[in-house]
């Protein structure tokens, strides 16, 4: 016999289910089951994965949901009366699945989409009843299982006779005939407890009494018994209670028997229930037959019921097309030719047209014309909003995309292959990714909803799974461990999978202390640490919750909401319960509309330029743009001074000079320590170099050592080698090294004549254990016909090694555009560009580093001023003082700790203020915030103008004293009458009592309240000690010989542990010392030497030897690090050349001392 499980939660039932759909499907199939249900809690989160798993296991999928039901008698908005399982009927052309989707959306319609909302996801019984019947045929398309978690099941306890009957009767009365069954479950808990055999018996008898069919299930939460402990920990994480607390409550699962039992076990279980019920074999057969009958009714046809892999795009009428979309697309391409290729003719035109025909042919055969027109429509809509937009990814490989304005990259010029994007051999919708200004992303989403209609659009979601830190926190909470202790442990976990925790304990130096405690724990203090490690490993990767995907928007036709359930996102807009892996299987068109902060920063910079220089002549002068004799400057600058960034030619020499200098902080894609090292070595000269650079700096190429040979060939240190002259045209641009996917495709094509479409399939198979051998057989068989065996061997070796790692050149080309544009802005308009960076914070570094970069560039940083600072960073022409006439950047009022958005708005609206009283009266700034503004020097000018003799410290003290006194009422009364007269008096009459705050005090306040050191670099005050120690500054490093031993010191700005060849971890730590960045690398030995300092310290003193990486590049190979904030730990005897003890000022505490609030100061984040 076989048994079908109808009630199964997968791991996608967040904080509830333990096992993955494929484990469950494989296990069921291995036991001879022919179908398996997936009934996740609250949604269809695991449904598509379940479908796929079942198809792979060769069994029929059954889909359903485990939903809470509102109490009919209680408060409808919040009170829930138990849970039921709802199964969709199959083989009815999707009527069951449709009803299920709508029902799940109903359950979420009232929720807020925010964590901890008051309204739970639940349906009313009325909603449930109305969804069970198909609106067209009025036939049942859903079955509701009333089981142990339902109000009926929950009322089974004790000796209550009537209550379960009343409740069951209510169900029968409320639901259409034939839509409910009773679900008998026994987890074999002690007699009389929930989920005991006795309860199953009661349910069974109730069903019999009312003539409702009963089915048997095991309410599965885990595939095998081993998962029970994980389920306990998940219960703890869900309820936020420790296991001991849950045990006392008692709220734990009564036993660990909720596993996917095989048919034999289920039969045995059925027998035990029937025995206890005093019923016989025939009754057992009936129970099992009912179960299988319901299973049969619910078998889904993935294609006919759920639209498996059937692409659906918006109706063409919605994008304003009445005729054939293909004709429309061809016409638009034609129109694009005149714009993109003005005056093209001859051979070039022939090539271009043949490419266009080729692309249109494929698009036509696949029937994807409406898809392209839809994306073009979105793209045009965004442009019309005046928002910067750029296509990213393989979409740049398409000439059609270029012609209809989706992409900005000419695929012919950059030799990009259409088949990498789309071919006749792929029937899934291709990805087109669109980058927009991050600050405008939500507006763009709303506009898309408006444009296409809410029934055709939803946001995509993403699954957030447990990683090491979250897992250790929740495992610790389950064990009831001390929160502080857990927090300390969590901080040391650095980018490894939770599943490898025990392995990491042995290997990672920063976990050495903890590992020691675990070992000792086994014998003494507490055994919990050992358990903590095991439980952390158990939680690894399990889904915790879904959230809005950072860029995915799903577009469909009017039936979209019949095909995916939706729930509110944090943004308020509806979000699908499906994630990116579910898109292709469900035939959903996903558009990636990614908010890119750099695009916002660049748009901001362009606006600042036009504000400061409102004419072409001024912009040309300010940016030192080239002017031809007799000309007025480049065409990309309009008469009013607006710069059209997309029209800036890619050949500006000063821009490449800046890039080669490696001072690329703030530039898109090339600011990371590793990238600065790479561009230092590579010295890019032209746009194609940037494409190659970006493509090389990827995990794959770095890991497979493609970079070194490439650089050697590029600089002519080693002769270029081609496996065969035929491959020279393919590999020439990268000096014989295979870097791009496109080159893999061409290599296959050249050597086997397979065509580019098949070549792309071969490329996808590389690195795939199952499919790669077939590709190898094919390649060797075909290539040997034209090439000698050693060439075939060598090329296959390259394909095998690099194929799965290479980078798509179209991606690189699309990325290189903003890279170049940002470097161009930094070169020509650095003040506006940096202001844009501070405003939108696009990069990987803390903002304070970009402030330091302005200081390094000699751009004045203008302090906070209550009358001059705005809600955003502003470039200002300096009116007086030593910097008169220069452009400086004025700090913004945003980002001050404690200052609310409303206060900020009132300040900006009320400027200028002539006194503190004026500020209090009109901007209604709270007392603590007035004090904070004073600490930051925002009143210094006002104070000076008032003629007062006191200093900032006196003012802060005065304001502090006022905080204690309660003047609220009085202020209301005297508002408007006394403010003007008193304000001046208040500042002027302030008695000078205290010494002025030191520079360190001021910088500390800035760091504490703004996370930025403004008045001076935070390292400056450490300088005396560092000078004594003979510490080398970043700007001096470049002048040193390779291999010089040095000490460097600075504040941490970045920590990276990239994947490495050979698998041994290497830690890169970058510090900033005010003269620039020092990038240091810690190999194994240095990690051992430095231990916990590797990840936990903000200020570092590092000893190491210089490694020259290129003409403009130098980095440090570290041997050991110390914590600069604890100079008492330095081995002074060893460090000071003259020997002896510590210098007098070694106890100096810098501005960072005592600040614990703001991690954004340093590069300590995730």
């Amino acid at each position: 016999m076989s048994f079908t499980h109808l009630h199964v939660s997968t791991a996608f039932s967040a904080h509830y289910g333990v096992s993955w759909p494929d484990e469950l499907a494989q296990t069921a199939a291995a036991d001879g089951a022919t179908a398996l249900a997936c009934t996740d809690r609250d949604g269809l989160y695991g449904t598509v994965k379940h479908l796929k798993a079942c198809m792979e296991a060769g069994i029929d999928p059954i889909v359903g949901v485990d939903l809470a039901v509102f109490d009919d008698d209680g408060d409808h908005r919040t009170q829930v009366a138990g849970r039921v399982v709802v199964l969709a009927h199959g083989n009815n052309n999707g009527a069951g699945y449709r009803a299920l989707c709508r029902l799940v959306s109903d359950a979420h319609a009232r929720t807020s989409g925010k964590a901890g909302g008051a309204v739970p996801a639940a349906v009313t019984r009325g909603e449930l009843a109305s969804r069970t019947l198909d609106p067209q045929t009025l036939k049942p398309v859903l079955t509701v299982m009333i089981g142990p978690d339902s109000d009926v099941g929950q009322a089974m306890g004790g000796r209550k006779y009537l209550r379960p009957r009343t409740l069951f009767k209510q169900w029968i009365d409320a639901m259409p005939p034939g839509t409910i069954v009773a679900e008998a479950v026994s987890h074999l808990s002690p007699p009389g407890e929930p989920l005991s055999t006795a309860h199953a018996v009661r349910m069974l008898k109730l069903a019999l009494e009312y003539n409702v069919p009963a089915v048997l299930s095991n309410a599965v939460r885990y595939c095998a018994q081993d998962g029970a402990a994980t389920a306990d920990v998940l219960d703890s994480a869900r309820t936020l209670k420790s296991l001991p607390e849950l045990s006392t409550a008692p709220m734990l699962q009564p036993t660990g028997q909720g596993w996917l039992k095989n048919a034999q076990h289920m039969l045995q279980l059925g027998k035990e229930i029937m025995n206890a019920a005093g019923q016989g074999k025939a009754d057992l057969s009936k129970l099992l037959a009912n179960t299988e009958a319901l299973a049969d009714k619910c078998r889904m046809d993935p294609v006919l019921d759920m639209g498996w892999k059937k692409p659906v795009v918006p109706e063409s009428s919605i994008i304003g097309i009445n005729g054939d979309p293909m004709v429309e697309l061809a016409q638009r391409c034609e129109a694009g030719i005149t714009k993109r290729f003005p005056g093209i003719n001859g051979e070039a035109e022939k090539r271009m047209r043949s490419r266009l025909m080729h692309e249109l042919g494929i698009i036509g055969r696949l029937g994807f014309a409406s898809y392209f027109l839809t994306v073009a429509e979105v793209s045009r809509m965004i442009l019309d909003m005046g928002v910067r937009v750029a296509a990213r990814g393989s979409g740049a490989s398409s000439l059609v995309n270029y012609l209809i304005d989706i992409s900005q990259v000419d695929p012919i010029r950059h030799d990009l292959i259409f088949e990498r994007f789309l071919s006749g051999r792929r029937s899934t919708l291709p990805d087109i990714d669109i980058d927009v200004e991050s600050a405008e992303r939500h507006n763009v989403y709303r506009k898309i909803f408006d444009r296409f209609g809410a029934e055709r659009v939803t946001l995509m979601s993403m699954q957030n799974g447990y990683r090491a830190r979250g897992a250790v926190r929740d495992a610790g909470m389950a064990l009831g461990m001390d929160e502080g202790e857990i927090s300390d442990i969590a901080k040391q976990l650095w980018r490894f999978s939770a599943r490898k925790f025990r392995e990491a304990l042995v290997e990672k130096p920063e976990l050495r202390d903890f590992a020691g405690r675990v070992e000792r724990g086994a014998s003494e203090e507490n055994q919990q640490l050992d358990l903590l490690v095991d439980l952390t490993e158990r939680l690894d990767r399990l889904p915790r919750h879904i959230s809005m995907h950072p860029c995915g928007v799903i577009l469909g036709d009017a039936t979209l909401l019949d095909r995916t359930p939706v729930q509110p996102s944090g943004l308020g807009l509806p979000m699908s319960q499906f994630d990116k892996h579910d898109m292709d299987p469900m035939g959903m068109l996903k558009l990636d509309v990614l908010g890119v902060r750099m695009q916002s920063a660049m748009a901001f910079a362009v606006r600042e330029v036009i504000r400061l220089h409102p004419s072409k002549a001024e912009v040309v002068a300010a940016g030192k743009h080239p002017v031809e004799p007799g000309g007025t400057g480049p065409d990309f600058i309009a008469a009013d001074g607006r710069i059209d960034l997309n029209a800036v030619p890619f050949d500006d020499e000063p821009t490449y000079e800046l890039i080669r200098s490696t001072h690329t902080l703030g530039c898109f894609q090339i600011e990371s320590p590793g990238q600065r090292e790479l561009i230092g070595k590579m010295a890019p000269r032209e746009f194609n170099d940037l494409i190659i650079d970006i493509s090389l700096f990827r995990p794959g190429p770095m890991k497979s050592d493609m970079v070194r040979p490439f650089l050697e060939h590029r600089h002519g240190f080693a002769p270029e080698i081609y496996p065969h002259p035929d491959l020279k045209p393919v590999l020439q641009e990268t000096h014989g090294v295979t870097v791009f996917h496109e080159q893999i495709l061409k290599t296959f094509d050249v050597m086997t004549d397979c065509g580019l479409a098949r070549a792309d399939e071969f490329r996808r198979a590389l690195g795939d254990e199952i499919h790669e051998p077939g590709v190898e057989v094919y390649f060797r068989r075909e290539a040997i016909k034209k090439y000698p065996p050693e060439v075939v061997d060598k090329v296959w070796g390259t394909l095998k090694a690099f194929g799965s790692f290479g980078f798509c050149k179209a991606h690189g080309a699309a990325f290189a555009v903003p890279t170049y544009q940002s470097a161009w802005l930094k070169t020509h308009h650095p003040e506006a560009f940096l202001a844009g960076l501070w405003e939108h914070d696009p990069g990987m570094y803390p903002k304070r580093l970009l402030v330091a970069e302005a200081r390094r560039l000699g751009i004045p940083i203008l302090p906070l001023d209550i009358n001059r600072s705005q809600a955003e960073y502003r470039v200002e022409r300096i009116q007086d003082g030593p910097d008169q006439g220069k452009l400086g950047i004025r700090l913004s009022l945003t980002g001050i700790y404690g200052l609310s958005g409303a206060e900020l708005k009132r300040i900006v609206a009320g400027q200028p203020f002539d006194s503190l009283a004026d500020l209090r009266a009109r901007a209604r700034v709270s007392k603590p915030n007035i004090k904070r503004l004073a600490q930051l020097g925002a009143f210094d000018v006002l104070h000076k103008d008032s003629g007062g003799k006191a200093n900032r410290a006196d003012l802060v003290q005065h304001l502090q004293a006022l905080q204690g006194s309660s003047t609220k009422k009085a202020a209301d009364v005297i508002e408007g009458q006394l403010s003007f007269a008193l304000g001046d008096v208040e500042l002027r009459n302030l008695a000078p009592e205290l010494p002025a705050p030191t520079m360190v005090d001021n910088v500390r306040a800035e760091l504490d309240l703004m996370a930025v050191d403004v008045s001076e670099h935070l390292m400056d005050s450490h300088r005396p000690l560092l000078d004594k120690l003979g510490v080398t500054t970043a700007d001096k490093l470049l002048g040193l010989r390779n291999g010089t031993e040095v000490l460097v010191a600075g504040v941490r700005i970045a920590t990276q542990t990239p994947p490495m060849r050979g698998g041994r971890r290497v830690v890169f730590i970058s510090i900033d010392d005010g003269t620039g960045c020092v990038d240091s690398v810690f190999f194994h030995e240095a990690q051992e030497q430095s231990g916990p300092l590797l990840f936990g310290t903000r200020l570092l003193l590092i000893r190491g030897t210089t490694r020259r990486t290129g003409p403009k590049g130098i980095s440090l190979s570290a041997s050991k690090a110390w914590d600069l904030s604890q100079p008492e730990t330095f081995p002074f005897a060893e460090l000071l050349p003259a020997g002896g003890g510590p210098p007098d000022d070694y106890t100096h505490h810098g501005p960072l001392h005592g600040i614990s609030r703001n991690l954004a100061i340093t590069g300590l984040g995730s």
Binding site: S189, P190, Q253, Q268, L531
Partner: protein, 114 residues
């Protein structure tokens, strides 16, 4: 573990049901259909490890209530004893958990045992 004082030998049917019990040197036959359930363990206190793949028996243990009849006694007589037996999943060993009917006084309530 170590909660239970007395070890017993149990012979099971193919489906894992107790059939014969050897207790205090006597061989008993299980008369009625035995009843089975599981009881929770506070594994986070009782165990120092819970690695993935530790299998069954971490969260609960299996308990069987059996009615025994000594050899030679008639089925109808009052000479039946009801015992709760616990099977340790890992080792497959059986121990006595509770004695229900009148029984030799030597048996102690196992929960009180050291």
């Amino acid at each position: 573990m170590g909660l239970f004082s007395e070890s017993v030998e149990v012979i099971c049917t193919d489906t894992g049901q107790p059939q014969q019990v050897q207790w205090k040197g006597m061989q008993y036959t299980v008369t009625n259909e035995p009843v089975r359930w599981y009881e929770r363990r506070q594994w986070w206190l009782e165990e120092s490890r819970a690695p993935l793949g530790s299998g069954a028996g971490l969260v609960d243990h299996e308990i069987w209530r059996v009615q025994l009849q000594a050899p030679g006694e008639k089925e109808t007589s009052n000479g039946t004893i009801t015992l709760d037996l616990v099977r340790h999943v890992g080792s497959g060993r059986w121990r006595l958990l509770r004695i229900h009917d009148a029984a030799p006084a030597r048996a102690v309530e196992p929960d009180e045992a050291a």
